[in-house]
Amino acid sequence: ILGGKSARRGNFPWQALTAIHGRGGGALLGDRWILTAAHTIFPKGVEDNNANLEQLAEKADIFLGHTKVEELHKLGNHPVRRIFIHPDYKPKDEYNFDGDIALLELKHPVTLGPTVQPICLPDTNNTTLYMDGHVGYVSGFGVEKNFISNELKYVSLPAIAREKCQHWLDSKKRDLPMVFSENMFCAGFLKIKRDTCQGDSGSVFTVLDMESGHWVATGIVSWGIGCAEGYGFYTKIINYLDWIKGIIRED
């Protein structure tokens, strides 16, 4: 998290620290599911990506319940039973992060409390969540000033209108032909150094629903071109509600 602040305990009780292929983030859904980015499980640009999901589940380390990495480790990891990768995600397509969403089922349900609480999913009918300027908060244990953070940071970022995201991206396409699909949105600033960065992938972009008073996850930290050099790109959760609920409810 660049340009952010240190989170206090209980600010983002859904925040998970993942360690699958390096550091990542995730968000607690219910009492036994972790929502994260698919590329934290199957990174793009990695040649040897043939490990199967059972093996990855065995290796995955998930931590919950603290803002400090060291304390998180002391609390112990939460073993993973199963991993679900969205079928649209293409690990080999380095320029297209469409479908960058995954669910991890924990082996044992977690006991909720002040520092461990789930995030809500958005209401399908809420059309304002991704409107230009709708401010949300992103937390994460990712890179800050070139150093991987040892504590949870957060930053507030506005959602940006799709045209602006595309326009900015078009100006960068000569370097990287990245795809901005309808299953993504972008947020952040062009000039202000406030952004998410490596290590924050999988963490959720959350907004406060003023009507219900609940914090709702609207996006998943997915990709960007550098950090704090423009907008960041997030998986648009509202487009994946059926997939998410289909997996969670079936369980």
Binding site: N11, G30, L112, Q117, P118, Y137, S212, W215
Partner: protein, 440 residues
């Protein structure tokens, strides 16, 4: 002298009959019929020299040491003593005939050929039971109770309760093993209501099928020798039921009615050498033996169709009020039936009713329950309510509510009677300590 063979009938003829009898002849005949008979003799033909008082020729008949007459003469003549059709009957089984003829049968120089006699005798049954048939006063048959005549003899018998002795005439009281097996009847001391005999050892046994109870009722008069200071020293009437003595009675006060509660009753009557008491008489009846009236062990026990009386083979069914279990010891019963047995006891003892206990309520994951009722227990109609660990969890009960009651079936159920407990679901997006921006 000719002994007549012991036959049942025969003829006696004068010497030479039917030819005239000789002079100077004395002939005797002893007629002897079997014992139990008497001799009946008649003359079929009689023609002897007539004379005054039968001085010359005659037939003399004796029986039972008595002279039955002296006969002579001819039929139709006034002189002499013609027997005619007379029947001569002895009182015993013998008769003696004597014929005597003198030296001549002349009448005015003419010899008259008197032909003599032909007599017929037969044995006639002696009715020994008729006292008038006794030959001598001391020869009466003397059956003590009953005499029964038959052809050629007789026998004695005795009244009920008496036994014919070895002399076949006397009767002695026999009451040492009187058995009664009918459902009801009468029994009394010998000779009742006349004074009872001495030296009695009477034993009257009433034996009825199992399950019946004998009831005794003493009738009037009731008299057994007694003593004012000492209890029944002379004669005793003892009543036992199943070997257990119910009582020993004497005096003039009737014991009244006695319910023995037994199907086997023995009545012993013992008398000494004297006394003039009239004895006793009992009417016994029987009814099905009764069992004790069932009594519930607690206020929750229900006896179905409670009867005023329970007798042998009756049964009762016991249940409990709603919310209570039938218990026999530590075992829960689905039902209970008890049968009144032949010995007047119930084949099972009354169970008790114990309040249903639902046990500890199911723990709610990420929640808890609390009791609404006091005292807090898990018995029938206790009520608990579930709640979740708020604010992190919220309770989901559907339409059933969060209250559960201990049912009569022993399970915790909601208001719809379902056992499924609520669920605590996570509350999302409500951090206790949300991020708060201050500077603007």
């Amino acid at each position: 002298s000719t002994p007549v063979p012991r036959k049942l009938f025969g003829e006696i003829r004068s010497p030479g009959y039917p030819k005239p009898y000789p002079n100077n002849n004395i002939s005797t005949w002893d007629i002897h019929v079997p014992k139990g008979y008497v001799v009946k003799l008649t003359f079929r033909f009689f023609d002897l020299e007539p004379s005054e008082s039968c001085f010359y020729d005659y037939v003399k008949i004796n029986a039972d040491k008595k002279n039955l007459g002296r006969y002579c003469g001819q039929l139709g003549l006034t002189i002499g003593n013609h027997p005619g059709r007379k029947e001569f009957v002895s009182k015993k089984n013998r008769m003696h005939l004597e014929f005597h003829s003198d030296f001549s049968n002349e009448d005015n120089g003419t010899v008259i050929p008197y032909r003599g006699f032909l007599a017929y005798y037969q044995a006639v049954d002696l009715d020994e039971c008729d006292p008038s048939n006794a030959a001598e006063e001391d020869e009466k048959p003397e059956c003590q109770h009953f005499c029964h005549n038959y052809v050629g003899g007789y026998f004695c018998s005795c009244r009920t309760g008496y036994q014919l002795q070895s002399d076949h005439h006397s009767c002695k009281v026999e009451c040492s093993s009187e058995l009664f097996t009918e459902a009801s009847g009468y029994l009394s001391s010998p000779e009742y209501p006349q004074p009872y005999p001495e030296y009695l050892r009477c034993n009257y046994s009433i034996r009825l099928p199992k399950g019946l109870s004998v009831n005794l009722k003493f009738l009037e008069p009731f008299e057994i020798d007694d003593h004012q200071q000492v209890h029944c020293p002379y004669d005793q009437l003892k009543i036992q039921a199943r070997g257990r003595e119910i009582g020993e009675f004497c005096g003039k006060e009737s014991p009244g009615s006695i319910e023995t509660n037994s199907n086997e009753v023995d009545i012993l009557f013992l008398t000494d050498e004297s006394g003039f008491s009239r004895g006793w008489k009992i009417r016994y009846t029987s009814e099905k033996i009764r069992c004790p009236q069932p009594v519930p062990r607690d206020q929750f026990t229900i006896i179905r169709d409670l009867q005023p009386v329970y007798q042998f083979q009756d049964y009762l069914i016991v249940s409990c009020e709603t919310g209570y279990n039938l218990m026999e010891g530590n075992q829960k019963l689905q039902s209970f039936t008890a049968v009144c047995q032949a010995d007047g006891t119930w084949h099972k003892s009354m169970p008790r009713c114990e309040i249903v206990n639902c046990g500890n309520p199911t723990n709610l994951t990420n929640g808890a329950f609390s009791y609404i009722n006091t005292p807090e227990n898990n018995t029938y109609q206790s009520v608990i309510t579930y709640r979740c660990n708020e604010p992190y969890y919220r309770i989901v009960t559907g339409t059933r509510g969060d209250r559960f009651t201990c049912s009569a079936e022993g399970t915790w159920v909601d208001q719809d009677g379902r056992v499924r407990i609520p669920v605590c679901l996570p509350v999302c997006g409500k951090p206790i300590n949300p991020v708060t921006e201050v500077q603007r």
